[in-house]
């Protein structure tokens, strides 16, 4: 469980985050989404007990991050953005060192369990300096999962992983997130969409939106966008399509395709398809361009910029 109230952090005269208030419950995967320098890492560092906030408080796993920092650190697994590894150690030595620092009884077994979880058991005796970026990331994750923490905080965990590893990583996080609290930061929006129960969009140190990925999408986008491509010029097709009931804002794009919108829930694509073929055109494709989180994100963060001006 994470509960942050009015977190503010100043680095000298620069305010990194301002008045952040949010919650993450047990069994919830919460995504922290924002451009670089938005304050994601700062917030995570406060929650892991690495540094105290300038103002505000936070409870993690039921303990105060300032007054009971050691108790918080006992219950949090943290993967920082730059994976902290000792290259001269073997994977097993490194994890055993972390197990010792956390006073884990039967540390060897817990190291083995963590290695299994990230599928690194075959590389246990290899030196960390010889591992690829993706494998290092997994060792870092093993370190964060080692002590079965109540709260898992992951800072940009999928950077540098190849697509197959990303899928595997997401499965691991999803499994862990079933019974624990996971807070992860990312600027890959599809990842937040797939992984998170809730997304906090943060920009310039403030939370600009907070909701489930689905709600965020439907809240900002009342309609769906579709692009229609036919063989040859579509100039004459445009008025036909525009006349169909439910089609909104039909327009011709410079590449000769037609873009139109329809209200979510009333799919007019079958009618459009029939009309297109009836008019003698060869229908090549329908291509949905539903606003992705990417666009929502840009919309939100740019709104912010505009307001400031």
């Amino acid at each position: 469980m994470i509960r942050a109230t009015g977190l503010t952090k100043d680095y000298g005269p620069r305010r990194a985050i301002e008045n952040l208030t949010f919650e993450a419950k047990q069994g919830e995967v919460v995504g922290f989404l924002g451009p670089n320098g938005a304050g994601k890492t700062t917030t995570m560092r406060i929650l892991t007990g690495y540094m105290p906030p300038t103002y505000g408080t936070a409870q993690v796993a039921g303990f105060d991050v300032i007054g009971e920092s050691l108790e918080v650190r006992r219950r949090v697994g943290y993967l920082p953005e730059t994976v902290p590894l000792y290259p001269e150690m073997t994977v097993f030595e490194y994890l055993k060192f972390m197990a010792d620092l956390r006073h884990l009884p039967n540390g060897d077994d817990m190291v083995d369990a963590a290695l299994d979880l990230v599928h690194m058991e075959k590389r246990a005796d290899g030196y960390i300096s010889n591992l690829s970026k993706g494998m290092r990331q997994r060792v870092g994750l093993a370190q964060a999962l080692l002590h079965k923490p109540e709260v898992l905080i992951l800072d940009e965990p999928t950077i540098g992983l190849d697509p197959a590893q990303v899928v595997e990583f997401r499965n691991t996080v999803r499994d862990v997130g079933k019974e624990r609290t996971v807070l992860l930061s990312t600027h890959i929006l599809s990842e937040a969409q797939q992984l998170c129960d809730r997304v906090l969009i943060i920009n310039k140190g403030r939370i600009v939106a907070e909701d489930t990925p689905e709600n965020l999408q439907s809240r900002l986008v009342g309609s769906e966008h579709v692009i229609l491509r036919v063989k040859g010029e579509a100039d004459d097709l445009l008025p036909i399509v525009a006349k169909i009931d439910g089609v909104q804002n039909a327009r011709l794009l410079p590449d000769g395709t037609i873009e139109f919108q329809f209200a979510s829930g009333s799919d007019v694509r079958p009618e459009v398809a029939r009309a297109t073929i009836k008019a003698g055109y060869d229908l090549l494709e329908f291509h949905p361009v539903g606003l992705s989180l990417e666009e929502i994100f840009l919309q939100l963060t740019q709104d912010n910029v505009r307001k400031e001006r």
């Binding site: 730059t82 902290p84 956390r102």
Partner: protein, 248 residues
């Protein structure tokens, strides 16, 4: 306590994978070895001029000089490197206290230097065989105590400097500068200042004077308390520096 030991053990093992540690060990043992051989050779050829056999100071004296350079090299990466590699963030988010981290780091380097010092024990054994009636055991104990205390101080100052800087070389030169002050510069004013109370303080703080008197076999309580206090101060400052880093 367990945390200190965990940190210290990793640090100690790290030295055995570090080229700098091997260079320091090599330099130390080579210097002490060459010095020892030359002295023995010189003394055996000139023995009718002098009636005193070489004592333990021919081993511990050069050891101290080498450690003046070696200690900053051993401690420069202790915390500076953790800072640079991002592993400090890892250590500071595990449930260990800042003080435990710093003491563990220092202890690791201290144990490694003690290992080097232990190797030099072959020289007193050789010296004991070569001289008659053998070396003075009491002086040997006080000389080794002197170098051990001195090493503790040097490394604690180095640990403190390493916690102040995130650049290893800055840590190295800052440590070296502070060691020069305590080892050499601090007693220079006593040659020109006429004020006795100031000179007493400077003499009290002078590590070199204490070291030389211990090398000669005289040990006072303050000879032991002063280096231990200085070590404690160095470690306290390191822990404070780590803590301040969090608040910035």
């Amino acid at each position: 306590m367990q945390n200190i030991w965990t940190i210290a053990r990793r640090e100690y093992r790290h030295y055995f994978t570090s080229p700098i540690a091997y260079i320091v060990a090599l330099l130390t043992l080579l210097t002490v070895g060459i010095y020892f051989v030359v002295i023995i050779y010189y003394v055996t050829n000139q023995s009718y001029y002098s009636n005193t056999a070489p004592g333990i100071d021919v081993i511990i004296g050069p050891l101290a000089t080498v450690f003046l350079f070696a200690s900053p090299a051993m401690t420069m990466r202790l915390l500076a490197d953790e800072q640079r590699m991002g592993t400090l963030e890892l250590l500071l988010t595990t449930p260990i206290k800042d003080g435990e981290l710093v003491v563990g780091k220092w202890l690791g380097s201290f144990l490694f230097m003690l290992t080097i010092i232990a190797i030099t024990l072959v020289y007193p054994i050789v010296l004991n065989k070569l001289t008659s009636p053998g070396i003075d055991q009491g002086v040997m104990v006080s000389a080794y105590l002197a170098i051990i205390l001195l090493t503790a101080v040097f490394l604690a100052i180095g640990t403190a400097m390493s916690s102040f800087f995130s650049n290893q070389f800055a840590a190295f030169f800052a440590t070296f500068a502070v060691l020069i002050v305590f080892w050499w510069l601090i007693r220079l004013p006593t040659f020109i200042v006429q004020n006795d109370s100031i000179n007493n303080i400077l003499n009290y703080l002078d590590l070199n004077g204490r070291f030389n008197s211990m090398l000669a076999g005289t040990v006072s309580l303050s000879d032991i308390i002063y280096p231990i206090s200085l070590t404690a101060l160095g470690l306290f400052l390191s822990a404070a520096a780590v803590d301040i880093r969090r608040w910035r």
